[in-house]
Amino acid sequence: MIAGEGLEKRYGGKRVLRGVSFVLPRRGFLLVTGPNGSGKTTLLRLLAGLAAPTKGSIRVEGDRGDLGFLGHEPMLYRELTALENLELFGRLYRVAERRERSGMLLERFGLWDVRSDRVSTFSRGMVQRLALCRTLLHDPALLVLDEPFTALDEAGAALLDGELAALTGDRTIVLSTHDPQRVAALATERLVLA
């Protein structure tokens, strides 16, 4: 369950978010849309706890271990291999049977063959897929995904569609996108930022 009340975020002189309020019940799916610069990324970072609101308040149920965040940056180590990245984050996120789970996710997202290659050798789409693996690694109850379809090719996007369909109704999801048609059917709430 997430509740935001009168959220404002100011960076220096510029106000990026003004007076945003919403409530998302558990296992709901919040779709966040809006033009460039409307503050989608800022809002999601506030929800993830990576930034603090200038005004207003947020309540998010659960602690850090329950959160899976996918941002604009992949949040991976470029010179480690895919497996090594997932191994490290698996340990830090206290994932049970992390080897098995890493392998399963890599396979699911079509990265099994490149599991021992360094991330710096990946294409942008492959990096995004690995970032998704990292996000889902610890099976979080709350998923905050900032434009997750970025850079994914058709195959990758289809994989993500499948994941989202499977997780909807079972996890709480907040997703921002430029292409709302794709996931509109899954969303239970919508928030349009101006």
């Binding site: 990576l50 930034a51 850090r64 271990g65 180590y77 480690l80 830090l92």
Partner: protein, 216 residues
Amino acid sequence: MSALSLYTSDVVALARKDLRLELRARDTLPAMLLFVLSTLAVFHFALPTGTGADAAYGLLWIAIVFTALLGLGRAWAPEREGGALEALVLAPCDRSAIWLGKTLATLAFLAAAELVALPAFALFFAPLDLVAVAGVVLASIGICAVGSLLAAMAAASRGREVILPLLFLPLVIPLVVGGVGAGISPDGAAFLSFLGLYDLVFAILAWATFEYVVTE
């Protein structure tokens, strides 16, 4: 797993990650090694004949401090490049473990540079006794403990590499005093105790406050 052993394994995993990255990239450590040797060579030409061993010993510390700065400037680079620091911050592990892992890795690199620098110094200038070496060890701990936190601060600023020396040098002055004193003064033990005190105070402070440097 108990909380302490969990914490320890986090720290070890993070430090090993840094060592592994350096072994692959091989950019920071060779630079530090070459830098420290070149600096010692420059010192020879900078010191007129007849300069005592004591003055040369002082310069060793300048070499160590600036070599450490070189390493510290790159300490958080892997986290910055892929945005991984945020993933670490979001993880359920203690934020101070991030600092401790990074400090231990940086200490390993600095120790490697010193393993080259100290024999070179003994060869080029003057021999070193055990107290002097103990001083180097203790001061290095303080350098890395404080330096990795300051480097994280610098990473958040627009100034980046430029601001790190400004933050680092005033804080390192007591360490230089301790290290030089341990080497040249008759009462080396007093300086070693002082270095231990500095390490204790600032390591605890860095450990406790790192969380606030990387979160909002």
